[in-house]
Structure formats: structure tokens, C-alpha cells
Point group: C2
Chain length 308, copies 2
């Protein structure tokens, strides 16, 4: 497992409160939790609020599972940037005697023998399966398209004691693939919209130009370049950490995914792409932290926005 | 990857129809698909129909992600029964030079070096995370409890060309933990109810005592014993295979999970458990096969049951 990131005292205290209230159920592995109906209801209402806000994009809805063909990930260069966050799926390969050995070692919690890599990885970001699916359709009509992948589960190998840093979590994600200007304009619109949505829910949302956690020394250069080009925006809000936490993230990929997957506009010009994702667990936690652990007692205006 | 199971001609033809209609999106790996909004809408409406039918169980809703602590799985003996279906999550372990090697090998689609087993596996059945969560609460009150885990994603390492045999799929799952008689009665009620639900949707549902696909020679004995004790029921319906396909499954675990996780009744007596799961993709496919690929043209009675 990746290096464990200790919780700050504020983060640990908030997690303990969430667990004591039954909202969050610890699994024994940091960053992997169950949730009760109260928590899930807030999350689902937030998802619907984003859906209503996305209506004017007339997005096409597509749904993908949280596993992705290994080849899809390999083709994107993900492992150049985030080898430490990736997760590969292994499965048994062997005969009956190998299976008996596997069961025996596993019963003692040892590292499983006779595991071989499968054709699958865990999906690291909800937009990854979109590009190959769109590429198959051929060139895009003028204005391109907007895809809504719903509330999609993604995985990052980064165990942490912070309840706002999960290993498997939900991104409420939209993807725009179109002419460069159209994509840039769409991302700016959603940056402002995300601030409005979160502010309307009583969260002190702020905007920041951000960088991804690229790996290693070369990664530091990638981060600098990403910031200089303002390719990644985040909308931040307070949860339980000393600094505000990213609640939504907006990535402008320029031509990267379109080139990798062979997506172009019908007139032969270049297609660009951008995606945005609301971190659903983080947004839910920000609400619980701000308004308290009992949604029935939340401010009427906030309740109306979520429950109508 | 596990041995690939070829599709029959009927299965391959149905998959091709689903793909041509845009309902199903191929990923490049068999058993891993994307779905469009029409498909997802049918699935979600089916989920709500099950939810309405479960109302008299007054189930408590809990939600879990599709990864599970490795220790939880190891403690249940899963690897004695299904080593071939299990999937373990691996992640990168190494320095910058190892990361560079990983990226280089992966770019050529080779087997990834520097992958180490993490503390997580993919959840093989939606009920697995329920037992440790309930065990933490201490002894159960008389009558026990019913848990609704919603529509939960699970994984089995069994690539197949049959569109009804996915590697990652959704189980609409309920779990009952209580006194033995209560659990047995609940399972019988739901067996009849599942037949009624599916029949009301125009599906020729039939009941069967079934067995799990236990591994190897010892597994054949386990299957015989499971059938003799009638521990597994299935409700079957026609999709595109020569034989009917299991659309819902009802497993009576007797004391197994309660013992493993230390769950007992408050009076000190033994707790039993059972679970039931509707295979959401299979139920969706059964409807599409029976009524055609355009839900707008389905029989009014079926539409009313799903869309109200």
C-alpha cells in the first residue's frame, strides 16, 4: 500500500464524530468507509442539485463501471504522471495445488501467491472511459458534445486518516469535448457555477489554480507547467483540515485525450477536452461540518435547495 | 485473467444488437461495459421496484464501496471456495527509477513491474461488508435486522462473451440476520416475491435449487452439499443463452457469517444470515430481450410498473 498519511487532530476528531453518529462506518482500512442512509441521502441530493445545474448543457448520460481496461490507461500516459496512485487488478492463476496454497497463506493474512495481473485496472478518474467510447463514433459535429457520467466511483491508492481523503470515492463528473474555445468557455462557466452552488449551500467556497500530485522529481516540473498554463482549477471549501479542501476540480486537457484516442472535429480541426468533478464525499462532509451532523436541523434555505 | 468463456451464437448476437442500439458500450475487455441513459433508466426503475417491494421489511440502508479490506475476505474462507473468482488490488511500490521502468513497460502493454498487494480486494458479493459493520454493534435484538445495501457493484474475475455475465456488475441486495427460523422464512418470502416481480414484468421466471461455482474437485463436493441442504435458490429467466439465466439469487449462510464475525442474538442464541440479490444487468437484459430494445414501445402494464 502507498505511504499512509496521518490525520491532523482536527481530521481525526471529525472522523470520530462521524463514526460515533453512525454516518460513517470504518472498514479497518483507512480511506475505505461505509455510509448510512442519512449520509447517502445528502450525497444523492447534492448529485441531483448538480444534475439540475447541468441541464442547460443538455449532456448525454453514459455510465461506466469503476474498472477500466489496462490498455486504455496505458495509452494515456497515466503511469508517467501518477504511478503511485494507480491500482491494478490481479487474479488467481494456477492449479488446484496452487489454490490450496493461496487459501492457506491468505488464512494467515500473508501476501497472496499465484496472483497474476488481469486486463483491468481500477478507474482513476471518471472521464477515462469516455474518450474511447466517443472516439468510436467518429468525428464530432460542430459544438462537440457534453457527457454526464453521473456519480462515478474512482480509486486512488493513497490511504489517509483524513475522512476527506478516500481511496474509493465518487466524482459527479461531466466531460466536454469540442472546439478549443468552446471547451475553455464551458470550464470557466462551471468554475463560477460550482462556486455559486457551494456558496448557496452555506459553504465558503474559494477558487484556486491548482496542480495534480505528479510523482517524483519530474513530477514537480509537471506541476509547475500545469500551474503556469492554468490547466487545473479547484474550488475549495473548509472541512476539517487546517487548509480548505478541494471540493470540485476542473481539468483542461487541451488536445491530450483527443489525440491519444483519435477524436477530431468533423471539419478536421483539433478537438480539445475538459472535465469537471465534484468530490461527492467531500461536498457531503463540508455540509456536515458546516451545518452539523443532523440534516433535519439544517438551515431552511439549504434544506430547500437540497430536498426541495 | 481467468479462462475466457466464449459466447454462444445467441449471446454474441444479442450483444451485437445491444451495441448497435447504443445501449451497451464495449470497453475492449469482455464483461466490462458502459451503458447509455436508456439502459441505465431501466436498471434504476427496476431497483426502485425492488425497493418498493422491500418496504415491509423496513430495512436499514447502508452503502459500501466495491473494495473490501483483504482481511475481511480472508477471514470468511472465500479463497477456499472461489480462489478463481477473487480479485486483489495491487499498487506501486518503489522509487523513481522503478516508476520509470513501470511507465516504460506499461507503454508497451507488458505486465507491470513493481506492483505489490495492497490491503484491499474487490468486493465479490454485496453482503460481505455488512457483517463486520453489524458485528461492531454487539448482540442483535429479538427479530434481528434487515439491511438494504442498495444497488452495489461487485466483481468476479470471469471474462465471458455473454453480455449477461459481467466481471463488474450490480447486485440489488438485501441481507437478513436474525434467529434461524426468521431468516429461513424471510428467504422463502423473497423467493416467491422475486418470481412475482419478474412475472409481473412479463418474464417467464422459474425457481431452482442451485449451487455456487466452487473451485476444483473439492468444490464439486461443496456444490453437492450446498444443493442437498438447499442453501442456494435461484430465480431464472430467459435472456439469450440456451438455458435460462439466474436473475436473482438467495443464499442461506446458516451460522457461517455470524460465527466468522461474532454476531449473536441478545439472548445468547445463534444468529443465522441470508442474503438475496437481483442481478440488475441481467434483469435489465431479460426485459430488453423480452420486450425489445425500445422501452417506449413496451407493453403498457410493464411500463406502468416501472415508470408509474
Amino acid at each position: 500500500m502507498g505511504g499512509f498519511r496521518e490525520a491532523t487532530s482536527g481530521e481525526a476528531e471529525f472522523l470520530a464524530e462521524l463514526v460515533a453518529a453512525g454516518l460513517v462506518i470504518e472498514s479497518g482500512v483507512p480511506g475505505v468507509y461505509g455510509f448510512n442512509a442519512v449520509y447517502a441521502d445528502i450525497r444523492e441530493r447534492l448529485e441531483l442539485l448538480v444534475t439540475r445545474n447541468a441541464a442547460d448543457d443538455r449532456p448525454e448520460k453514459l455510465h461506466f463501471p469503476p474498472v477500466l481496461p489496462r490498455k486504455t490507461l496505458e495509452g494515456t500516459g497515466y503511469l508517467n504522471s501518477f504511478p503511485h496512485l494507480g491500482a491494478s487488478v490481479f487474479g488467481f492463476e494456477g492449479n488446484e495445488s496452487d489454490a490450496a496454497e493461496l487459501a492457506c497463506v491468505a488464512a494467515r493474512n500473508g501476501p497472496w501467491p499465484h496472483q497474476a495481473q488481469t486486463d483491468l485496472v481500477l478507474t482513476p478518474a471518471a472521464c477515462y472511459p469516455v474518450y474511447p467510447a466517443i472516439a468510436k463514433r467518429g468525428p464530432l459535429p460542430p459544438g462537440g458534445l457534453c457527457i454526464d457520467v453521473g456519480s462515478a466511483l474512482v480509486f486512488r491508492n493513497e490511504p489517509s486518516g483524513d475522512p476527506a481523503r478516500l481511496q474509493m470515492f465518487r466524482q459527479r463528473e461531466l466531460v466536454r469535448i469540442a472546439e478549443p474555445d468552446t471547451v475553455a468557455e464551458w470550464r470557466n462557466k462551471w468554475r463560477d457555477r460550482a462556486i455559486d452552488i457551494l456558496t448557496s449551500l452555506g459553504i465558503e467556497a474559494s477558487f484556486s489554480i491548482a496542480a495534480d500530485p505528479f510523482f517524483g522529481r519530474a513530477g514537480r516540473l509537471m506541476s509547475i507547467s500545469q500551474r503556469e498554463q492554468a490547466l487545473k482549477f479547484e474550488v475549495l471549501g473548509p472541512i476539517a483540515s487546517p487548509q480548505p479542501t478541494a471540493l470540485a476540480s476542473f481539468n483542461y486537457h487541451r488536445e491530450h485525450f483527443a489525440h491519444v484516442h483519435g477524436i477530431a472535429m468533423a471539419d478536421g480541426s483539433e478537438a480539445h477536452s475538459a472535465c469537471l468533478g465534484f468530490g461527492m464525499e467531500r461536498c457531503t462532509l463540508a455540509l456536515l461540518k458546516k451545518h452539523g451532523l443532523e440534516p433535519d436541523s439544517w438551515d431552511a434555505g439549504v434544506r430547500k435547495l437540497l430536498w426541495g
